[in-house]
């Protein structure tokens, strides 16, 4: 899961701490999401995107990583 939180934060001139407080998580969680170490829940993903007034797909991009299975 890729995300553009850092870009949106820069656009809104927000620190990680500001965003963390607004969404009810710790700064470490925002940092972990930005670095791709942690995939947020749907609830948190929607909170973050609503805070930036955009759709969730604009902030988070799902990267396909599915193993192919041969179906006869």
């Amino acid at each position: 899961m890729k995300n553009k939180i850092k870009v949106f934060r820069a656009m809104h001139d927000l620190t990680q701490e500001d965003l963390a407080q607004a969404t009810g998580v710790t700064r470490q969680t925002i940092l972990a999401i930005e670095k791709g170490k942690y995939v947020p829940s749907l609830d948190l993903a929607f909170k973050i995107s609503r805070y930036f007034n955009v759709n969730v797909e604009e902030v988070f991009q799902y990267s396909e990583n599915v193993r192919t299975i041969d179906v006869d």
Partner: protein, 148 residues
């Protein structure tokens, strides 16, 4: 309740439990420490719910959950293996073919030995949990640093 007050309370309870443990050993009455432990841990749980300045978000909950599940998955194997061993000790296993000379009385582990086994299991559980907690905290970016 403030975070520091909670930590202070937890430290006091730990010291009290240590004293109670010593007292129970001296009197050779395990009931004191058993009841004290339950009351102490329940007090810590109740006090933890009133702390206002600790943010527990979904990531920290996930770290706790994953560490607990992995600890359980590993611990129960060791626990069952040791328990089976102890059960084997207390059960009389007849030898085949059954001969009168092969009869032996059942060997029962002394309580002191059982105590050591419990201690090993307790230490195993604590080490596993701490180890898994460190692993998952690292995996989910607990010690990541940033330019901010």
């Amino acid at each position: 309740m403030k975070k520091n007050t909670f930590y202070l309370l937890t430290g006091c309870i730990a010291l009290l439990l240590l004293g109670l443990f010593w007292y129970s050993v001296e009197l050779h009455t395990p009931l004191f420490i058993e009841v004290g432990f339950i009351v102490g841990i329940s007090t810590i749980y109740l006090a933890r719910r009133t702390v206002t300045d600790i943010i527990e978000d979904e990531r920290s909950a996930k770290i706790t959950e994953e560490a607990a599940v992995r600890t359980f998955q590993v611990f129960w194997v060791g626990f069952c293996a040791l328990s089976i061993g102890v059960v084997m000790e207390i059960l009389y296993i007849p030898s085949f073919p059954r001969e009168r000379s092969a009869f032996r009385p059942p060997e029962i582990l002394p309580p002191r030995m059982l105590g050591y086994l419990q201690l090993v299991l307790l230490c195993l559980m604590i080490f596993l949990y701490v180890g898994f907690r460190i692993y998952y905290a690292r995996k989910y970016g607990d010690w990541e640093t940033d330019e901010e």
